[in-house]
């Protein structure tokens, strides 16, 4: 049973059961500090384990992060940062090439 937020990666891989939590990557078991939400997500994951009848079963947890700005902001590529990304990549490759 996978509890995760990267739905496409998990579904392309293929797993028996997935609980999809549509949050920014980092908190698939619920928002930090929100014990009630964490309990409901983990409890639902267990119910999916119990009730799924076939592989590739995905259930989406009925939770919402709030603002959806993180969707476009994560790993954003645009005119404003394309040169900076290229420079950072060059720097990283150069550093990793060192023995």
């Amino acid at each position: 049973m996978v509890v995760g937020s990267a739905r496409d990666i998990v579904e392309e891989c293929g797993v028996a059961r997935m609980l999809f939590v549509d949050f920014p990557l980092g908190n698939p078991c619920g928002k930090p500090g929100d014990r009630a939400m964490q309990r409901s997500i983990v409890s639902l994951a267990l119910d999916v384990v119990d009730t799924a009848i076939a592989p590739r079963t995905t259930v989406q947890a009925p939770v919402h992060w709030g603002s959806g700005n993180w969707r476009s902001a994560f790993m954003e590529v645009g005119d404003h940062n394309i040169e900076a990304l290229r420079a950072a990549g060059d720097k990283r490759r150069k550093a990793q090439a060192k023995p």
Binding site: L25, P32, L46, A52, F74
Partner: protein, 170 residues
């Protein structure tokens, strides 16, 4: 009366991390896109006993200890591990993993490693018990290495008579 939609979308609402990471690393000057694992045949087993009698284990991609991660690259010396749930760490090491560091934080382990949550669910009878140890697997670019780590965790789960494994990738 017909219900109206809460929202109207012109694009798929959930994020495609395969698309995002490909475009991001291409813009960063990497020639070859990452090739994600994909399986046509997916195994499936029904639960063989009631949840309330099942032994549940958690598998995390986070790490117990701090590791240096130069230039944002994944730490390379991590190994598959197990750790007793009674010694629940107050923090896990997540700095080298790819999660959304702008939108959120990982200061609350329960948000990705639900030890206390599962302990409470066991006390309430939802599950039989939380396994006495949890398991950790490094996320590596090597799918071969990940397969070996998975086999090790499979053996540990068999030793512990784990009935249900919750895999929680960060």
């Amino acid at each position: 009366m017909a219900e109206r939609a809460d929202r109207q979308e012109t694009h798929r609402s959930y994020v495609s991390y395969i698309d995002k990471s490909r475009e991001y690393y291409e813009a960063s000057g990497y020639d070859q896109p990452y090739r994600w694992a994909a399986f046509d045949q997916v195994p499936f087993t029904r639960l063989t006993k009631p949840l309330a009698e099942s032994n549940v284990a958690v598998i995390t991609t986070t790490y117990l200890h701090h590791h240096d991660s130069a230039h944002g690259a994944p730490a390379t010396d991590k190994v598959v591990y197990h750790h007793p749930v009674v010694d629940r760490p107050a923090r896990m090491f997540t700095d080298d993993l790819s999660w959304d560091k702008q939108a959120t934080h990982t200061d609350d382990p329960e948000s990705f490693l639900p030890i206390n949550t599962l302990t409470a669910l066991a006390e309430d009878g939802k599950i039989g018990q939380l396994n006495h140890r949890f398991f950790g697997v490094p996320t590596e670019y090597s799918q071969r290495r990940t397969g070996l780590d998975a086999a090790t965790i499979g053996e540990w789960c068999a030793e512990d008579q784990v009935d249900v494994a919750l895999l929680v990738p960060l």
